[in-house]
């Protein structure tokens, strides 16, 4: 440990001067970068809008309270659609992600080239938000629930695929060896030694993604992909903030319920 002498008194220091300066320099560069980035944003901002932001916020909240409960009944069908988008999307995504995860896991992949391909698909799917997939799909196959479902599915592939292939790579090798030593074929080894080990993780991951998908599917309607977001978009465009507040309350309660379900299931399987 470095020691500093002040008036011949040894003082123990946590770091050497060189480390101290390196850390100081790191912070300095970080702060400079932050200020530089902030300058770019500040240049592109009309600061005059900010002077009356509190007035805007107050009037926005004033118009949202109390929520307009009269539309609650007409929101039930869109809410059901939203849940369907999330659920069917999760199922579709999982069906594609499941084999992909086996291709992407280092210990089960049949060929390194296939592994690279599977990893590429997983990263692409993960990088792009469901909302962007939805915009693309709405321009392609038209507005509606199907576009939402496929968008959710495309986004889920990467998430489920990544977590599942990490789970496959972390399995214990002994059962695999045991099944292999009985003379089982490749598929039999997968079915009897790998699959039982990853099933709990798989169930947990799927339910976790379903929970996230419920949140994401509430906004897909903003770009025309069905669900409660359509009603939200219409209300926002009409500046009917009371109705928007009702939609928010419904979304909030749906998300709370789905989170509770997901937590229960994950607790049960893991």
């Amino acid at each position: 440990m470095p020691v500093k002498y002040t008036d011949n008194q040894p003082i123990w220091m946590q770091r050497t001067p060189r480390q101290q300066y390196a850390i100081w320099l790191g912070w300095f560069l970080g702060v400079m970068l932050f200020l530089l980035c902030f300058k770019v944003i500040s240049d592109n901002t009309i600061w005059e809008f900010l002077t009356d932001a509190h007035v805007q916020a107050a009037s926005l909240i004033g118009r949202m309270v109390p929520p307009d409960w009269s539309i609650t009944g007409s929101l039930m069908l869109p809410l059901w659609d939203t849940i369907n988008i999330a659920t069917v999307g999760t199922i579709l995504g999982t069906i594609i992600a499941f084999p992909l995860a086996f291709l992407a896991a280092r210990n089960t992949t049949p060929h390194p080239a296939l592994r690279a391909f599977a990893l590429g698909v997983i990263v692409s799917s993960r990088s792009i938000n469901a909302l962007i997939w939805a915009i693309l799909l709405v321009t392609m196959i038209g507005p509606g629930l199907l576009a939402g479902m496929i968008a959710i599915a495309l986004r889920s592939i990467g998430f489920v695929g990544k977590l599942l292939y990490e789970a496959i790579e972390e399995i214990q090798p002994t059962p695999v060896e045991a099944i292999t030593s009985t003379g089982a074929g490749n598929m039999q080894v997968l079915a009897w030694s790998v699959l039982p080990q990853i099933m709990p993780a798989f169930a947990g991951i799927t339910v976790y993604r379903w929970d996230i998908n419920i949140r994401e599917s509430t906004t897909l309607g903003l770009v025309g992909a069905g669900g409660i977001g359509l009603q939200m978009n219409a209300a926002i465009n009409n500046l009917a903030w009371g109705q928007v507040a009702t939609v928010f309350v419904l979304i909030f309660s749906t998300v709370i319920v789905s989170e509770w379900v997901s937590a229960k299931v994950r607790h049960a399987v893991i």
Partner: protein, 286 residues
């Protein structure tokens, strides 16, 4: 042989029920099912089947329109092989610069605000009223998608990247504070008691007992959130909160798929790069 099996079966009757052993002797052994209760298993299967039938009849899909869109879909996939970075190069560069700066500023501000909220949301160090207040804030921030928050903030602060910064920072608070609070709740109690026994002040206590225990995870999560914020910054531009999302949205609406493909490829490349980088930093700090 069979008698020895039977005596051991009595020891762990739960795992070795006689019907399974009899089946195993006939050579038709099956692994234990994932859900052990038979009623629950079949109940879940039935519920799933009912749900699928219900969805099939409640969702109506215009298949003719879908078939029409198939060509466009192929066009789009094809444009990934001929991405056009040049024609709208200026717009892409401006959007990208805005997205990157927004991401960085918002992540820094978000984490700076998430640390006090996270401390307040940890049950073992925060008083009850503070705990409930912070947990409510976290729940609000986590429930609403970034895009909804962005709509509200654009209405308040006007169009432009500042609304985007506030949106991403707000979303970062919920994410980071929740995980930080869970980490603090899982932290070891002995160092905290030891530091407190020296007569340290509250700040010293946090700095010397709590902070070292959660720091590696906090750094890892910050990098992860930086990555998420960049991805989200590509979305909130759609509602006018700045960033590359606006460029992307415009190009898609113009059916200019070559430019959209270029933007998407850039996003994918940056996410990939940040993933590699965060892997290094995590190894380096852990």
């Amino acid at each position: 042989m069979s008698s020895s099996l039977d005596t051991s079966a009595s020891a762990s009757a739960a795992q070795l029920d006689p019907a399974r052993i009899a089946a195993a002797k006939k050579g038709s052994w099956r692994p234990l099912p994932l859900i052990s209760s038979r009623k629950l298993r079949w109940g879940l299967n039935l519920a799933a089947l009912t749900y699928i039938v219900l969805v099939y009849y409640s969702v109506d899909i215009n298949w003719a329109r879908v078939a029409q869109g198939f060509d466009r879909g192929l066009n789009f996939v094809g444009s990934f092989f001929t991405p056009d970075f040049v024609t709208r190069g200026g717009e892409i560069a401006v959007g990208l610069r805005e997205s990157l700066t927004m991401t960085f500023v918002a992540t820094v501000i978000g984490i700076a605000l998430a640390i006090p909220v996270g401390l307040g949301a940890a049950r073992n160090i925060a008083p009850r009223p503070v705990y409930f207040f912070c947990r409510t804030l976290i729940a609000l921030s986590r429930t609403f998608q970034e895009i909804i928050i962005a709509i509200l903030f654009v209405a308040m602060f006007g169009f432009g990247p500042l609304a985007g910064v506030f949106t991403l920072a707000f979303a970062t608070i919920g994410f980071m504070a929740k995980l930080l609070a869970e980490d603090i709740e899982d932290a070891q109690n002995e160092p905290m008691e030891a530091i407190r026994a020296t007569g340290a002040s509250w700040l010293q206590w946090i700095n010397y007992a709590v902070q070292p225990q959660v720091m590696p995870r906090l750094i890892g999560l910050s990098l992860y959130r930086l990555d998420i914020n960049f991805r989200e910054s590509a979305v909130i531009g759609i509602v006018g909160a700045g960033g590359i999302g606006a460029t992307l949205n415009t190009s898609i609406n113009r059916y200019d798929y070559d430019t959209s493909a270029a933007v998407l490829l850039i996003i994918i490349a940056i996410v990939l790069m940040s993933e590699y980088l965060s892997g290094y930093v995590r190894k380096w700090t852990a």
